[in-house]
């Protein structure tokens, strides 16, 4: 009962607060009136009586406050009032407020921006109906862990209809081009089987999905437009159904629009622009070997919906049986690694990828978290300095009866408000960044908007920031000896030098973290430099290339004539010395399994090597010297014995001799497609310079496209007249062959190589931006601390100067303080990065398998970079110290003595 009445009283007091305020006023007024009347009756004149009544009553406001508190509504009242006070104070100090909000906004904005990326990739869910009934099935990779599925294995899985109500296969997402009007644009497509939407429990937004018939090979190609592409690229036009669109040059009939809210098979925040039927794969890939049960065609993701009452464990048991059977029946094509079943809700992209992506996301968040740490400690510094500057105000308020708890509450309200404003600024900043990112013409549609999760993240961050980083300054600046402050000294703390103060620690921390981030820049730049220094071993400066898709030609059927015309026109451009038609960019190798003839028994042992497509004129165009035998030429046409040129390294490794001319090898796929080595070429780097640093001297073999029925899509040419001019000339010639041929890429070799360094370059920029931002923030913090120290010691400095101290002494004292802070910070930051580098080296050395080589390359300790960073930090310190030091030096001794 008592509980209820208390609760009721509290509710009533909240709801009828205004009423109660009025009541309280009236009650107190009545008291004073009554007392006045009593005094008047006793013969005091009315004016004096009222004064006396008031005096004997005491502080009306104070008692009102206590009465309110006694009623238990204090908290909300306080909050309202504190907020208003804090807002007023912050407005008055608008300069401080702006600085603090900007600093925090930057810190929180950077975090929110990155978080929205993580959010898009790792947190946002594809819409799917009852997710818990859907499983992902993977054939295991040879090394263990989930791999991919071959199409025949998928069909075997799908046959378990007592376990799976429906199942679907999705081919790896593929970059495609499509023509919209006269422009050819890039997009992402997924080939899926007809049951895809049934498994997911979704329906197309417009039109229809694929039929079973379209799962069959070489069914007439149709396509479903992805929902997002439909809204953003096709203006949500329902009339799109029935239209014919060219995708990768192939005319395709649009039959529907995909379900809204479902991005793609992989929950990666990347939206499929087109869905294509599985059966259409051969049309687009130019071969139907993806439908074969081969070791290296595990290119399908499989999803299935469980039959009612079937558990994931039972599905796993069924698949384990299947796995064992496949290992028995297909000992060559199936490694017997088994099959794994995962609940779909446990998988985002792929069980193996998830681990890596999560690790990268965590690392990135941790790095930008450092910037937030700088911003936060900066805010704390500013609050401390401001608090120290407000000692007198605080003292007066303590003297008139405010409690320390009240003051701390006020200061905390202020810092939380600041932090929330900073959070809001951060959200704005993040959404600007994200708008900028989405405005970039990326080949894939990643949805990186700022949604409620990002906003919640930013506000949670700012609230915690406000409380945690406001508390220490609030506690410190209310710890005051009243008598000292009020006596009128500017300085209330012991005047002895204390180095280990919160302020100094914060500044040192900021400098250290910034320096640490900057060493990251150094490391990334090192990597860029190392990559650029690679001796590529082929012509770079005079080479240009053009990528097109001949399937878009008006008369695509007549491709041999098209090829010949493109090549002859490019070769006829003035200055061109050699040209070649090929597939893929030169030196961009594809890893393949190969078998060397006569090695390790009949089956041969499978080795890894990189395949580069070439043609007649390739080695001349690329200026790759042939060491033995001959280059590929006109003799190596379709029908002639299959020829290949191999690299020196491959010859040595697999044939035991550099001169391997005449020896034979085959791809692990083709049983009887033996290739004869006709020449051995000098080693080259591959086009991926970034990778080259990790993995130099790969085994490479060059094959002529004509002998393998591979359609060319790239023209490479070498000129004497400058590659930039050549790029333009080649585009003109292509247009002259056929207006409809798209220019998908047009680059000089130099640009192409530089572009391959985008990851380390991006890393360098990322670290440099964060580090510079951090150091600027640290500079502000340093300035605040030094400026405050100078003003606090104004009297001391004044006395010294009055006693004849040189202004140089004063400057030296200030500079000394800055030097110590910056020096310690830099030393700590550099040591931390040294430790980091050593850790990376050790872990990098132990985990250099394919996956873990993502952990970048072996960083080296770079003394030059460290000196530069230290100098940069010193420069920031100098700038931060300049103004306060000058003020100290110019201080008028008399003025200083009168100070405060």
């Amino acid at each position: 009962m008592r509980m209820f009445s208390l609760l009721r009283a509290r509710l009533v007091s909240l709801i009828f607060r205004n009423r109660q305020e009025a009541d309280l006023d009236e009650e107190l007024r009545y008291h004073v009136d009554r007392e006045t009347e009593r005094l008047v009756a006793a013969g005091v004149d009315s004016h004096t009586a009222r004064q006396q009544a008031r005096r004997s009553f005491g502080s009306v406001e104070g008692f009102k406050e206590q009465a309110r508190e006694a009623r238990g509504t204090g908290f909300l009242d306080h909050l309202g009032r504190d907020t208003r006070h804090a807002a007023r104070r912050l407005m008055r100090d608008w300069r401080f407020t702006t600085a603090a909000v900007l600093i925090l906004g930057l810190g929180i904005g950077v975090n929110a921006a990155l978080f929205s990326l993580v959010n898009a990739v790792l947190l946002r869910e594809n819409s799917v109906a009852d997710r818990e009934r859907i499983v992902d099935i993977y054939q295991n990779a040879p090394g263990g862990g989930a791999g991919g599925n071959t199409y025949p294995t998928y069909l075997d899985m799908a046959a378990y209809t007592d376990v799976f109500a429906s199942s679907t296969a999705a081919f790896m997402p593929r970059g495609v081009t499509y023509r919209e009007g006269s422009a050819v644009r890039q997009g992402m497509a997924e080939h899926v089987s007809a049951a895809y939407l049934q498994v997911l429990g979704l329906r197309p937004a417009v039109g229809r999905w694929f039929s079973e018939a379209e799962d069959a090979r070489n069914a007439p190609p149709v396509a479903v437009v992805g929902y997002r592409a439909w809204t953003t690229r096709f203006a949500s036009d329902p009339g799109i159904v029935g239209r014919i669109l060219r995708i990768d040059g192939v005319p395709v009939t649009i039959v529907g629009v995909g379900p809204a809210g479902h991005a793609a098979t992989l929950n990666l925040g990347v939206h499929a622009d087109f869905w294509l039927p599985i059966g259409a794969l051969p049309v687009f890939l130019g071969s139907d070997r993806v439908f074969d049960r081969r070791l290296n065609e595990p290119a399908f993701f499989v999803k299935a919906r469980l039959q009612p009452g079937v558990s994931v464990a039972r599905a796993q048991a069924a698949m384990s049986t299947l796995g064992a059977r496949l290992a028995r029946e297909f000992p060559k094509e199936d490694l017997g690694a088994g099959i794994s079943v995962y609940p779909s809700s446990d998988v985002r992209i792929h069980p193996q990828m998830d681990v890596i992506v999560t690790a990268i996301a965590t690392a990135l968040l941790a790095i930008v978290g450092l910037v937030l740490a700088i911003a936060c400690s900066n805010l704390a510094t500013l609050l401390l300095v401001r608090g120290a500057g407000r000692l007198k105000e605080v003292s007066v308020r303590l003297a008139v009866g405010a409690t320390r708890a009240q003051l701390v509450r006020h200061l905390l309200t202020e810092s939380v408000m600041l932090a929330l404003a900073g959070g809001a600024a951060g959200c704005v900043l993040a959404s600007w960044t994200m708008r900028w990112v989405s405005s970039l013409d990326l080949p894939v549609a990643v949805e990186v908007g700022v949604d409620w999760r990002v906003v919640a993240f930013a506000f949670a961050l700012s609230f915690v920031t406000g409380v945690v980083f406001g508390l220490a300054p609030a506690l410190q600046s209310t710890r005051i000896e009243l008598w000292q402050t009020l006596r009128g000294d500017g300085d209330v703390r012991p005047t002895g030098r204390r180095w280990l103060t919160l302020k100094n620690a914060l500044v040192v921390f900021q400098v250290a973290v910034s320096v640490f981030l900057l060493t990251g820049t150094g490391m990334s730049l090192q990597m860029v430099a190392a990559a650029r220094a690679v001796q590529v071993g082929f012509a770079v400066d005079d080479v240009a290339m053009l990528e097109t898709d001949l399937r878009y030609a008006a008369n695509a059927a007549d491709t041999p004539r098209l090829r010949a015309e493109v090549l002859s026109r490019v070769a006829a451009i003035p200055g061109v010395q050699a040209a070649v038609l090929t597939r893929g960019f030169p030196m961009e190798g594809n890893g393949m399994g190969i078998v060397i003839e006569g090695v390790a028994g009949t089956g041969g042992q499978i080795a890894g090597a990189s395949n580069v497509w070439a043609g007649p004129g390739f080695f001349e165009t690329m200026r790759i010297p042939i060491l033995y035998g001959r280059a590929l030429d006109e003799r190596d046409r379709a029908g002639a014995p299959r020829a290949a040129v191999i690299s020196e390294a491959m010859a040595r490794r697999h044939f035991g001799d550099v001169n391997a001319v005449g020896r034979r090898f085959r791809s692990e796929l083709g049983q009887d497609d033996w290739m004869q080595v006709v020449g051995v070429a000098r080693n080259t780097a591959t086009a991926d310079l970034d990778d080259e640093v990790l993995n130099p001297q790969r085994d490479v073999f060059y094959r002529p496209i004509d002998q393998w029925g591979v359609a060319p899509n790239v023209v490479v040419a070498r000129t004497t007249l400058g590659s930039a001019t050549l790029v333009r000339a080649m585009q003109n010639e292509l247009r002259r062959v056929d207006e409809a041929l798209p220019v998908l890429t047009a680059k000089t070799m130099r640009q192409f190589l530089d572009d391959s360094l985008v990851v380390p370059r991006g890393g360098a920029m990322f670290f440099a931006a964060l580090g510079a931002l951090g150091l600027c923030l640290a500079g502000i913090g340093l300035y605040a601390v030094i400026a405050f120290a100078v003003s606090r010691r104004a009297r001391e400095i004044g006395i010294r100067m009055a006693l004849g101290a040189d202004s140089r002494h004063v400057v030296r004292a200030v500079a000394g303080e800055v030097a110590v802070l910056v020096g310690v910070g830099t030393a700590v930051g550099l040591s931390a990065s040294l430790v980091g580098i050593l850790v990376l080296r050790v872990t990098g050395a132990t985990t250099s398998n394919g996956v873990a080589s993502l952990s970048l390359y072996q960083p080296a300790i770079d003394p030059v970079a460290m000196v530069i960073i230290a100098a940069f930090a010193a420069a920031v310190g100098l700038v931060a110290a300049y103004v306060p030091a000058r003020r100290a030096a110019r201080m008028d001794p008399l003025g200083a003595l009168r100070h405060d």
Binding site: S5, L6, Y30, R34, S56, F63, Q66, R68, A70
Partner: protein, 109 residues
């Protein structure tokens, strides 16, 4: 005035409850009564009465009601609730024990 004693912290509640135990009274009258009864020995900072009144009301020991005062103005009258009577009895006995104890100490040292 200087021979008056400030009301001891915590005893104000006791005095208020004792005062309104006889009849409902408004704040000013309570202050007057405490002063009269104590022969002007005790001084209540008049304002401090109100936080105490509101606290006691909040605790459910006294109840408040608007009514007409003897000079026909609206005033807030406080009366003791049943729980308040019990509480008063406990407080009184507690006080008696305390003052007896203090007296003993004072006499024997």
């Amino acid at each position: 005035m200087s021979d008056q004693t400030d009301v001891l912290q915590g005893t104000l509640d006791l005095l208020i409850m004792r005062t309104i135990a006889l009849e409902p009274m408004h704040g000013w009258a309570i202050a007057q009564r405490i002063q009269q009864i104590s022969d002007d020995q005790l001084r209540v900072q008049q304002g401090s009465l109100y936080p105490a009144l509101h606290r006691l009301e909040h605790q459910g020991w006294i109840a408040a009601e608007w009514g007409a005062s003897d000079n026909n103005r609206r005033a807030r009258f406080y009366s003791l609730t049943r729980a308040g009577r019990k509480q008063l009895a406990t407080e009184v006995s507690k006080w008696e024990r305390l003052s007896a104890g203090v007296n003993l100490v004072l006499q024997r040292t």
